[in-house]
Symmetry: C2
Subunit: 226 residues, 2 copies
């Protein structure tokens, strides 16, 4: 059995791009399950043929390649990891109704957070205020759902935490460019983010906020968004 | 046991709006599982307090209320139904990898089909050609995935079929307003749609294409899109 697991682990490859919150989700899930894997960084100016072959529909990271078979879309990958390595505690709740609630919030995050974050740090001029407002509204919806629980699913770190926490590595960038304080607006959410960072799986998967900021600054310069 | 199932069934309520492809998905899944339920039609000019209470985040149909607990977002509901009523064959494959593929395509349909369909039938002027082109590209991606299989998952009607087939009730509307022939462009997909319509669960859940057309015509008149 031990040999079998080791072999399986040797066949896990992640196609990633380090500032991507979607890639971070997969890294957290793999770390939660204790899976070792090979991580390949993609270059967006010149996507690898491996990326184009394994994700021909979207041509986007992350892609998880398990025993030669590619899985795409980050929350789909997280669910696959959760089901494939079930020797460790499950990220999704076992209760059917709670599971449907977790998927609902994962989906909410997918549909709202990335765009809100990006609009704030790339915004300029009079649109900035509207972008900031929408971003805070989105966070407050999530904070209301978190309420006084330690994690979104309750006592244990799980699926919705994995879905959301990578975006907190962008908070410093968002606050600096957007000239806003997330802690003032959403103190419970910031406390939750700090709680998540106490976990090795999260701390080792998220880049330093200053590194993200340097990336965002470069991105804005390259795209004339200063 | 029989009494218990009957009681559970009595507590299934669907908040719906009949032309919605998302609502049709839920109806098909419930029919596949043989679940009787109460269907309440929502009025979009005056949303019911039940809808606002059960889906406070999106305020959108479909909502499935099972024993008083609301579940939102159509594919999330389909997954919940599949897991909650497991006395009938599963809509999602039991194989982990095939399940991840099914979720990938469900997600692709969610992200692409509704918008493509709507752009074609509401389009006008010189944008029409571009909308038609994008719509056909989207369908061809799906047709490539279907290839020569009877259903998306293989031999049996399943999750991806449930996700996609409701949109085929809009094809007549799309063809009429967009002045295009889906059968010419995607013959395999149209053959698949006809195959799905042989199933009672699908045939009883999809409105007649002419009824959808009359709805779309009214919608365009009301929104000045003629």
């Amino acid at each position: 059995y031990y040999t079998k697991v080791k072999m399986a682990e040797a066949n896990v490859v992640l196609l990633d791009f380090w500032p991507s919150s979607y890639g971070m989700r997969v890294k957290i899930a793999l770390a939660e399950k204790g899976i070792t894997y090979e991580c390949k960084q993609e270059d967006f100016q010149a996507k690898s043929s491996l990326l184009l072959e394994t994700n021909p529909v979207h041509k986007m990271i992350p892609v998880l390649i398990h025993n030669g078979k590619p899985i795409c879309e980050s929350l789909n990958i997280v669910q696959y990891i959760d089901e494939a390595w079930n020797h460790k505690p499950s990220l999704l709740p076992s209760d059917l109704y709670k599971r449907s609630q977790a998927r609902f919030w994962g989906d909410y995050i997918d549909k709202n957070v990335y765009n809100s974050v990006k609009r704030v740090w790339t915004g300029k001029g009079k649109e900035q205020e509207e972008h900031n407002k929408q971003f805070i509204e989105c966070l407050k919806t999530l904070e209301d759902e978190l309420a006084n629980k330690p994690y979104f699913g309750g006592e244990d770190f799980g699926y919705v935490d994995v879905a959301l926490v990578p975006f907190t590595s962008w908070f410093y960038t968002v606050e600096t460019f957007g000239k806003l304080s997330i802690e003032e607006e959403c103190p419970k959410l910031v406390a939750w983010a700090k709680r998540c960072m106490q976990k090795d799986s999260v701390a080792t998967s998220l880049p330093h906020p200053h590194k993200i900021y340097a990336f965002a600054l470069q991105y804005k310069q390259r795209h004339g968004l200063e």
